[in-house]
């Protein structure tokens, strides 16, 4: 730990010296950045496992066996790998969406509600438009999921643009509206025909996502999430719209002065991030659960925030961080089942991994910040 730290400090010193004497060392800097951004997170994860291993040891469990089951539960065979990818799918979509919002300095805490809004709208289509053929219905269900989430997000964005209402407050409040509203629909107007259990009817066969790797449950929603991440990457970094979003995030006043319609970018960012969460809701229903429950999400919308932040709000980085979260979650279930480690300790292990990766991220920002300053100085 200390070695890396002193190395980094030395490196920064060196950079400072270099920047004065020979500013043209961009390639070398690039290599350093690449090295630190790949080795760093791995070291952080290892450190987390050492610390949580100690805790398991103190609690009377064999940490090596525990971590072996964790790994086996996440990567042991095709079935568990597919489950990791499925677990990562909603987190990936939500994380990519939130990355857009966070990049434009909009603190959308409402992905959970947007997820529900998308799930509700797509379930309605999946149940009541069951007579449509799959080629029409599946895209329709997904588009409606996106639209539902986007509307829910744009609503909060509109409150901000029109009344200056803090999006942090409004998105949190809209979460409750969506979740409780779903509860009402599921126990009331949309309750299944039998009327016994608070759940909707199943969506039509034609509304379900194609599973391309039987006997696993892996469905095309995962591929969609990957494609979505790439699209958002291109949008953010290769188009003028993306530039506007990022510019508004850096400095609203300057962006406005430069002729960027800041209000429009707020609505756009909320629309994209809400839509992504809504799409995740639609995919969850039409890909896995096939019906709506009062609680359709275990907090994907909130985990998605961590997923986005961990990836430094980079859409392609989100793919990796969503996979990490998915593997942790999926593997830790097996850790409970096979190694019989109490859930509380499992959550501690999960938390430590996330915490150390995130703190590395902060540290990294500091480090690179220093390098950048040094270069400019």
């Amino acid at each position: 730990m200390s070695d890396s730290r002193s190395d980094i400090l030395a490196l920064a010193e060196e950079r400072k010296a270099l920047s004065v004497e020979a500013p043209a060392s961009g390639l070398r800097r690039r290599w350093q950045v690449l090295l630190w951004s790949t080795l760093g997170p791995i070291a952080a994860i290892l450190a987390a496992f050492v610390v949580s291993g100690l805790m398991l040891l103190v609690a009377g469990f064999d940490p090596l066996f525990a971590f072996a089951t964790l790994l086996r539960g996440a990567f042991g065979d095709l079935r568990v790998i597919s489950e990791v990818l499925l677990q990562a799918t909603p987190l990936m979509l939500i994380g990519v969406g939130l990355a857009v919002a966070f990049r434009s300095n909009i603190w959308n805490i409402g992905a959970e509600g947007q997820f529900y809004a998308g799930a509700v709208l797509s379930t309605i289509a999946g149940i009541y438009l069951g007579m449509l053929p799959a080629v029409v219905l599946v895209p329709l269900v997904l588009v409606l999921g996106f639209v539902g989430g986007a509307l829910w997000g744009v609503l909060a964005g509109w409150f901000k643009v029109r009344f200056g209402a803090s999006e942090i407050v409004t998105t949190i409040m809209l979460n409750y509206v969506a979740i409780i509203g779903t509860g009402y629909l599921v126990t009331g107007p949309m309750i299944e025909q039998a009327g016994t259990y608070p759940q909707t009817a199943k969506v039509a066969e034609a509304a379900r996502l194609y599973r391309f790797l039987p006997p696993t449950r892996l469905h095309i929603g995962f591929l969609l999430a990957l494609v979505f991440a790439v699209i958002v990457y291109v949008l953010l970094f290769k188009t003028s719209t993306g530039y506007a979003i990022r510019a508004a995030g850096h400095n609203q006043t300057a962006a406005r002065y430069a002729g960027i319609d800041v209000e429009r970018t707020v609505l756009l960012a909320m629309g994209i991030s809400g839509g992504a969460a809504g799409l995740a809701g639609a995919i969850q229903v039409s890909g896995l659960t096939f019906r709506l429950y009062q609680q359709i999400s275990p907090g994907y919308g909130f985990t998605g925030i961590a997923v986005a932040l961990l990836a430094g709000n980079h859409p392609l980085g989100v793919i990796l961080s969503a996979l990490l979260f998915g593997a942790l979650r999926s593997g830790s279930e097996v850790m409970q089942i096979s190694a019989k480690i109490p859930s509380v300790l499992v959550f501690v292990v999960q938390g430590l991994v996330i915490l150390s990766v995130v703190s590395y991220g902060v540290y990294q920002m500091k480090l690179f910040g220093r390098l950048r300053v040094a270069k400019e100085g």
């Binding site: 730990m1 040891l57 009377g60 259990y197 449950r217 089942i337 019989k340």
Partner: protein, 342 residues
């Protein structure tokens, strides 16, 4: 600063070195052995798994199942394991497979929401029983477990109609199947004594608002009800308050617990249930190979260790009422009375 950072890992290493040797062999051996060493004897170990939709330490719904599992582990020498799934319907199927693929003999999905996933997975694992709490599903090795509260409430209805001929009230929590079935049972019981017996009923819409339950009970009493019974979890305490404040000639009955001290002069008895005992009974039958289901499991008055009534010794019922209650109880057990008749 730099020195401190140098010392820290050294300390960490020391702690590691100090901890590792004594601690590792002792607890590690059984934990690690569990999977590997027990391999040959695996066939003989009875294995039960629990899928819990929330924390097993919630001292409520999930704790009931968890404690039942602990009892199965202790009393039947079973290997027990549980997993908390945080209300994520998408993860249920995987968890069932995780257990079934490891040769578990029975898996309990603790809530109706586990039905779909169990029905999907069960055909692949015909040697495993999949039990679902508060469900009436029955399909080969997927079996719903339900407690039929309409039966004890039927008996309460009989008592109400005989002890308080003026009329009765029922204060429910949310209008969900177990509660509305209890109301149906209560009305049927009362009407078995007097077909014109008035029963007022209301649902306060939650299980926590004791003040709303109290208001509802008070207004029922003001309209002439002389027996008001709650089925609203903790909100039911409001009903006991209302009854206690209305004098000893207004009666009530406890449900899912002993509430005698909340209204000692008004409570005629308590309906007590131990769903965990029902789970243990079934596990025992599965282990002994005597479990041959012909339908979903419906725990009722016929299972006196799962569902029973304790009368308040300080408010003894007249003999004719006791006789009528006993007769109704026997008729229900014999299947002669349908407590859920519309």
């Amino acid at each position: 600063m730099k020195k401190l950072l140098l010392i820290l890992p050294l300390l960490l290493a020391l702690v590691l070195a100090a901890c590792a040797p004594p601690a590792a062999p002792a607890p590690a051996a059984p934990a690690a052995g569990g999977e590997e060493a027990a391999q040959p004897a695996e066939e003989e170990v009875f294995k039960v798994g629990l899928l819990s939709p929330g924390s097993v330490n919630d001292e409520g719904w999930n704790s009931i199942a968890y404690h039942a599992m602990l009892r199965i582990q202790d009393e039947l020498g079973a290997e027990m394991s549980y997993v908390e799934l945080e209300q994520d319907p998408a993860s249920f199927e995987k968890a069932f497979r995780d257990y079934a693929s490891q040769g578990y003999d029975m898996i309990l999905g603790h809530g109706f929401e586990f039905q779909d996933a169990a029905l999907t997975v069960a055909p692949e694992y015909p040697d495993t029983y999949f039990f679902i709490s508060s469900s009436r599903v029955f399909e080969n090795n997927v079996i719903g477990l339900n407690t039929d509260s309409s039966q004890p409430f039927y008996l309460m209805g009989v008592i109400a109609a005989m002890m308080a001929p003026e009329g009765a009230g029922f204060v429910g929590g949310m209008e969900i199947p177990p509660i509305s079935e209890a109301l149906t049972g209560f009305i049927n019981g009362a009407h078995s004594v007097n077909p014109d017996y008035p029963v007022a009923s209301t649902f306060i819409g939650n299980f926590t608002d004791a003040a709303a339950a109290k208001e509802a009970a008070l207004s029922m009493i003001a309209q002439g009800a002389r027996f008001v019974v709650p089925d609203a979890d903790v909100a039911g305490l409001g009903v006991f308050q209302a009854v206690a404040e209305s004098g000893p000639d207004v009666y009530t009955f406890g449900a899912f617990g002993d509430f005698t001290d909340k209204a000692p002069d008004n409570i005629l008895g308590n309906y007590l249930a131990d769903y965990g005992q029902g789970i243990v009974n079934i596990a025992k039958a599965v282990k002994e190979g005597t479990f041959e289901p012909t339908g979903n499991i419906e725990f009722g008055l016929a299972n006196p260790d799962v569902m029973w009534i304790e009368f308040n010794p300080n408010k003894p019922l007249p003999e004719d009422v006791m006789a009528a209650v006993e007769a109704a109880k026997q008729a229900i057990i014999a299947g002669e009375v349908n407590t859920l008749a519309e």
